[in-house]
Every structure is written in structure tokens, then in C-alpha cells.
């Protein structure tokens, strides 16, 4: 049965490693729903959060093949229940709709933040789960949304040793 899996990958900071990881999905004809990457709490170690819809058997094999890459320190997968995850979204709307229209109360009701107010446009930020971000979009869009962008998911798993512990284990081997 297909479900959503959150794959966390920790890698060295080397050119091409992202490509090596995505190739593994391409080979198995798997689509990546979202992917984010940035430096982790350990300097020089990068953390990827990859979201895929697939089955348990497939995700196990994919994660094993990711972990096999020379420059991958560790890879895990978790179901949605095992992680806390968020996305960030930015919305560009006309300032006119904000000042004179009805968007101000929408922004308030959704606990979104205002980042910038320009003469012509206003940029709103909202952090949350995909459905919450979509709800805000749907409501704002009644007044017209000029641009909308979502970050892709970042996730932290509930049951997991710290990255430091894994690194120490690897160093010790």
C-alpha cells in the first residue's frame, strides 16, 4: 500500500551527492514529492528531507541504496506519525486587497505573518502543514494571489538518536 514516507539523509558536503541520491529514485521510477537540503546541526554535515509516496518494501530498499553511497553518513525513513513536519509558504497579494479588501482578517485568522508591505504588493508568510497552507491560499485566492510558493517539507523524527551519536559511532569503527 502506498503511503507517505519521510526520508532523512545525512551526507558529507560534496559536489554531486544530491545527484547520486536522486538517481536512486529515478532508477526505480519513483517521484519525489518534495526535497529540502541544508546544513545540519553538525558543521559540514548536510541534511536532506525527502518525501515520497511508495510502499514499505520499496522505501526500505531505496534507503539501503542511499546509505550505500560513499558520501552518505546515514539515512532513515519514517512515516508521518513518527515525525514532526512543517512547511513554509509565501503569498504575494495586492496591498490594495489588504488595505481595502477583506484579506486582513484572513491573515489574522490563519495566524500568518506579514513580511513586507510595498505600495503595490504585500508578502505574507505562513508555516504549517500542507493543508493549512493550502487553506490559506484558497481563502486569499478569492481576492487574487499574485504568487504562491511552498518550501517543501522539513521533518524531525520523534524516535531517533542524535546525529552526533551516529557520527561518533562511525568515527569509532
Amino acid at each position: 500500500m502506498e503511503t507517505v514516507f519521510n526520508i532523512s539523509v545525512f551526507t558529507e558536503n560534496s559536489i554531486g551527492i544530491l545527484n547520486r541520491i536522486t538517481i536512486i529514485f529515478t532508477r526505480r521510477h519513483l517521484n519525489i514529492e518534495s526535497i529540502t537540503a541544508s546544513e545540519s546541526e553538525v558543521k559540514g554535515v548536510y541534511r536532506y528531507t525527502i518525501v515520497v509516496k511508495t510502499n514499505l518494501d520499496q522505501v526500505k530498499k531505496v534507503v539501503a541504496q542511499i546509505e550505500k553511497q560513499v558520501e552518505v553518513l546515514k539515512a532513515f525513513f519514517h512515516t508521518d506519525e513518527q515525525v514532526v513536519h512543517q512547511e513554509i509558504a509565501l503569498y504575494k497579494i495586492t496591498t490594495e486587497s489588504f488595505v481595502n479588501g477583506g484579506t486582513e482578517h484572513i491573515v489574522r485568522n490563519h495566524h500568518a505573518r506579514i513580511l513586507t508591505v510595498d505600495k503595490e504588493f504585500t508578502i505574507i508568510e505562513k508555516t504549517g502543514q500542507p493543508e493549512e497552507l493550502q487553506d490559506l491560499f484558497n481563502e486569499l485566492d478569492q481576492y487574487g494571489v499574485l504568487e504562491f510558493v511552498r518550501s517543501g517539507r522539513v521533518a524531525i523524527s520523534k524516535p531517533m538518536k542524535t546525529l552526533e551519536t551516529y557520527l561518533k559511532e562511525l568515527e569509532a569503527e
Binding site: E12, G16, I23, K61, Q65, E71, V72, E171, E173
Partner: protein, 561 residues
């Protein structure tokens, strides 16, 4: 020592004890070739005729010598010509280091002359690759390349060096690499898994052991022998494992897979414990996985964690180096014999013999058959020649009828099934083992895919015995067309050139035979010749390889005809 990057490459190779390089020069690798000129006395560079030949030769060298094969190519087309060999080495776990030249770093990404994104192209077919744009980074890159290629599950590595990095000056210092934080090549064995395995094996009534190339790669031939003789467990081998356990040993029960032996295939579905070591359950071995060894408890030992539970779920998955695991198992296992169980193999072997083998090696038909040729070669060389094959019917016939008893004397393209592999791989095998007889058995189709390497044999005086089994067909495809496509021989009939004339054009002694009466003498002539020799054997046109496990069938449904 302040030297050029190109010289640094050569010093690195020397420190890594590289004695042979297979390569082809070109614009972007010229500084390295210039540096090589000063190392001619210590490093033997073999000028191939095509980069694909270069990497297959490096593979043949690596497979038979246990050392890392090295190959050079230039940027662009030189590098792309390596791809087939990289893919072959990747799937067959062969340690190879390829050094490619690249356009100068300021030209990267600009579609410069002979620029190609070789890092991107080779990524799916290399264990690791790296682009070096500064001379000072060369030693580290080379040290890591050799370490990664040879350690853990071996594989191909590509080091792409820009021309300016080759020209750049640097202070040379080389530290061989023996550790990379993110890479754990040799796992720590979980003792609990070994104990569980021993318990299962000690209680087994009908255990069967499957061995693969992992035995060679971990140098575990002796450990395997000790384990076999103590445990008494019958042993079957994959294509790449042939020779890791002597074919004439009383516990050897044959060759697994689509065109393997009848007994080990059929009895895979009868054993109670299946012990797989250093093999990866390729689909050519398993047939239909949903009907594969369902009755058995499976113990799978492999150094590559990603292979465990990939195809066949293991009741006990042991992430370990074969040598270490076998040593531990031998210590703990009870000495036992399985006379009745072994007899089941011998009974089925007798069936295969009477239904297939006898006719194949002593045919009643007028025309020569592939099996009788290989069988006679096997007898004449006592199973000890290094036999390199290409891909197709002749390959399956050779793996069936050549009785490997030597050390690492079986070289073939397994996972990728690369036609054209045979001739260059044989060149590499000979250069790695100058004292041994090397015979390349090749079909008339595959021979023409890398026929240009006859030039390498000529120039470097490589003593390779080439035996072409010529049926004027792309035989394996033809066999499938006959069996599964209603005999519609779509583009499998092949019009061949005069092979012996071509060989003679390269100053290679050559003869062609068509009659059974000529075979014995012809093989003697080939084996006793001084230097390279080409023997063309014209064989029956529409001979089929049997037995056979059809695609989608279970191993126990193997058909004998």
C-alpha cells in the same frame, strides 16, 4: 617535491603499485600522457584501440589478479566510451580506477570542444567519482579512488582531472587512504546472526549452499573449502562464482541459473536451509522469485547491506565479509554428511547427463557442437586455463562445460551481459597473468563488437588464444526467437567476414576448422602456439542451449529440452 599535477598522477599510481595501465590518449589527457613518458620503465601502458577495450581489459586484469585495474581516457568521446565498461564493472563488482582528462576548469559547462559531463553521465555506473580542478587535490582524490575501488564490495571509480589541474604545480605528498568517515566497507559481524545460522544449519536435513563471486572478492576460497569439508553441505555456484569451489569436488553439485545444471536448480525448491554466500540472487539465478525456495529457511551472507532482503527475504541476514563469516561458521558448525541428500543431486545429474550432456559432448550429428569443443578444451587444459568468455550461447556453454579448477580463472560479463567484453578482457587477463594460458571463447557476433583490439594484441604482443565459436547467428537471441517468437528470425542471421584473414592481417596465426576430425589437432595447435592464435570453429547453426529455466518459470520447472 614541487611537480605538475600530471606527474603527481603518475607518482600516485606508482605508490599504489600499479604496473599496468590500459589507455588511449587525446587532447585533454595529454599532460598525463606526457608525464607517463618518463615512467615507461616501471609502468606498462597498453595502447588499446578503443576506450571500451581499455576498460574491459582493465576489468579482465582486475578479475584475474585481484588487483585494481587502471585505465586512462581523454575527455568527451574518450570518457563516454568507458561507460559500458563502468556499468559492467559496477554490476559485477570489479575494482577499476579510470582517470579521464577534462577540459580546463574555466571551460567547464561551456560546451567546449570534447567537453562532456562525464561526472553526471558516469554517476549511476560508478561506486564513486570525482572531478579534480586543482593540482593540489590530485593525491587525495587518487588515494580515495583506490581505497574505494578495492574495499568493501569493490567497484569502478572515475577520477576526472581538468587540463589546468594536470598542468598546475603542486607540492607532492601522498597519504594512502584507509578510512572515510561516511563509508564503512567492512561490517562488524553480529555474532548473534552467526549463532542463529549455525543452529539452523546444524538442525538441517537438506541444506544447500549457494556461492557467488563474493568468495573470490573476499579471498575466501580456502575458508570455503574448510567450511564445506566440515559441514558436508552440497555447494552450487553462480556464473561468477564458478571456480571458487573446484568443479571436481564431491560436494560440488553444479552451476545455478537459467542455463545452469538441472540438479541445483530443481533442488533449490527442495532444500530445507538455503545458505547463500557472496551472491545477490540475480533474476537469472532465481527465475520466478514468488516460487523460489519458498520451503526453505534462507541465510544470506553479503558484504553489501543493500543486497540483503533485496530480492529474496532472508530469515537470517548476515551483513559480513564472506571470509570472516565462513571462518566463524566453520568453527561452530557440527561435522556432518548428507549422503542421501547428495544422492538426490547425483540422480538428477544422471538425468541431465543422459538427456543433455552425453549428446552435447559426443554428438551424433555431423556438425561440430559448441559443447564438445569446450569440453575438449577443458580436458586439454585440465580446467586450469584462464577462460574468458563474451556473452551469449558460447558463454552459457562454456560455463556449463568448462570445469574450472584454477585460481580466479573464470572471467565473463555476468550482470550486464556485455557483448564485446571477451576479447579485451582476455588481453587484460593475460597481462595480469603472463605465465598462464588465457583462452578467449567468443561468438561470431560479440567478436565483431570489439574486433579492433586485435590491434592491441599485435602491438603489445599479447599471447591470447582466441576461439571463435561461429554459428553465423546471434545465437542466443535466435534461440529465443525459435522458442518464444515462433521462429521469426528477426535480424539474427549474420554475414561474417573471413576471420582468419583478418587475424592474419594483424599478424596473428589463425586457422579455421569445420570438421570433428580436425578439432583435437586444432586445439593442440592453438594451445601450443607461441604468441596469439585465432581458432575459428564452425559449429552447428541452430544449436540450442539446454537445460533452460524460461523467463517467468520457477527454477524447479527447468526444461531439459
Amino acid at each position: 617535491m614541487n611537480i605538475r599535477g600530471a606527474e603527481a598522477v603518475m607518482h600516485c599510481l606508482q605508490i599504489e603499485k600499479v604496473d599496468t595501465i590500459f589507455g588511449y590518449p587525446g587532447g585533454a589527457i595529454m599532460p598525463i600522457y606526457d608525464a607517463l613518458y618518463d615512467f615507461k620503465d616501471t609502468i606498462n601502458h597498453i595502447l588499446v584501440r578503443h576506450e571500451q577495450g581499455g576498460i574491459h581489459a582493465a576489468q579482465g586484469y582486475a578479475r584475474t589478479s585481484g588487483k585494481v585495474g587502471v585505465c586512462f581516457a581523454t575527455s568527451g568521446p574518450g570518457a563516454t566510451n568507458l561507460i559500458t565498461g563502468l556499468a559492467d564493472a559496477m554490476i559485477d563488482s570489479t575494482p577499476v580506477v579510470c582517470v579521464t582528462g577534462q577540459v580546463a576548469s574555466h571551460l567547464l559547462g561551456t560546451d567546449a570542444f570534447q567537453e562532456t559531463d562525464v561526472i553526471g553521465i558516469s554517476m549511476p555506473v560508478t561506486k564513486w567519482n570525482i572531478q579534480v580542478t586543482k593540482a593540489a587535490d590530485i593525491p587525495d582524490a587518487m588515494a580515495k579512488a583506490f581505497y574505494i575501488a578495492r574495499s568493501g564490495r569493490p567497484g569502478p571509480v572515475l577520477v576526472d582531472i581538468t587540463k589546468d589541474a594536470q598542468f598546475g604545480m603542486m607540492d607532492f605528498e601522498y597519504k594512502p587512504c584507509d578510512k572515510i568517515r561516511s563509508y564503512v566497507p567492512t561490517p562488524n559481524i553480529d555474532l548473534a546472526r552467526i549463532n542463529e545460522s549455525v543452529e539452523l544449519l546444524n538442525a538441517a536435513q537438506k541444506p544447500l549452499m549457494l556461492i557467488g563471486q563474493g568468495i573470490f572478492l573476499s579471498n575466501a576460497e580456502q575458508e570455503l573449502m574448510l567450511f564445506a569439508e566440515k559441514s558436508g553441505i552440497p555447494i552450487a555456484s553462480t556464473l561468477l562464482g564458478l571456480g571458487a569451489f573446484p568443479a571436481d569436488h564431491s560436494l560440488y553439485v553444479g552451476y545455478l541459473g537459467m542455463h545452469g545444471n538441472y540438479a541445483p536448480n530443481v533442488l533449490t525448491n527442495d532444500c530445507d536451509v538455503l545458505l547463500a554466500v557472496g551472491m545477490r540472487f540475480d533474476d537469472r539465478v532465481t527465475g520466478d522469485v514468488s516460487q523460489y525456495a519458498k520451503q526453505a529457511k534462507v541465510i544470506h551472507i553479503d558484504i553489501d547491506k543493500a543486497e540483503l532482503n533485496k530480492i529474496i527475504p532472508a530469515d537470517i541476514a548476515v551483513h559480513a565479509d564472506a571470509k570472516e563469516a565462513l571462518t566463524m561458521l566453520t568453527e561452530l558448525i557440527n561435522p556432518k554428511q548428507y549422503a542421501h541428500w547428495l544422492q538426490q543431486f547425483r540422480d538428477l545429474e544422471a538425468v541431465e547427463k543422459s538427456e543433455v550432456v552425453n549428446e552435447a559432448i559426443h554428438p551424433l550429428s555431423d556438425q561440430l557442437k559448441m559443447a564438445e569443443v569446450v569440453n575438449l578444451l577443458s580436458e586439454k587444459t585440465n580446467g586450469k586455463a584462464i577462460v574468458v568468455t563474451d556473452v551469449g550461447q558460447h558463454q552459457m556453454i562454456t560455463s556449463r562445460y568448462y570445469k574450472y579448477k584454477g585460481q580466479r580463472n573464470n572471467v565473463t560479463s555476468g550482470g550486464l551481459g556485455t557483448m564485446g567484453f571477451g576479447l579485451p578482457a582476455a588481453i587484460g587477463a593475460k597481462l595480469g597473468n603472463p605465465e598462464q594460458t588465457v583462452v578467449a571463447i567468443i561468438g561470431d557476433g560479440g567478436f565483431q563488437m570489439t574486433i579492433q583490439e586485435l590491434g592491441t594484441i599485435l602491438q603489445s604482443q599479447v599471447d591470447v588464444k582466441i576461439m571463435i565459436l561461429n554459428n553465423n547467428f546471434l545465437g542466443m537471441v535466435r534461440q529465443w526467437q525459435q522458442l518464444f517468437f515462433d521462429r521469426r528470425y528477426s535480424f539474427t542471421e549474420i554475414v561474417n567476414p573471413n576471420f582468419t584473414a583478418i587475424a592474419k592481417g594483424y599478424s596473428i596465426e589463425a586457422i579455421k576448422i569445420t570438421e570433428r576430425g580436425e578439432l583435437d589437432q586444432a586445439l593442440d595447435n592453438m594451445l601450443n602456439s607461441k604468441g596469439a592464435f585465432l581458432l575459428e570453429v564452425v559449429v552447428e547453426q541452430e544449436e540450442n542451449v539446454f537445460p533452460m529455466v524460461e523467463t517467468g518459470a520457477s527454477v524447479s520447472e527447468m526444461r531439459l529440452k
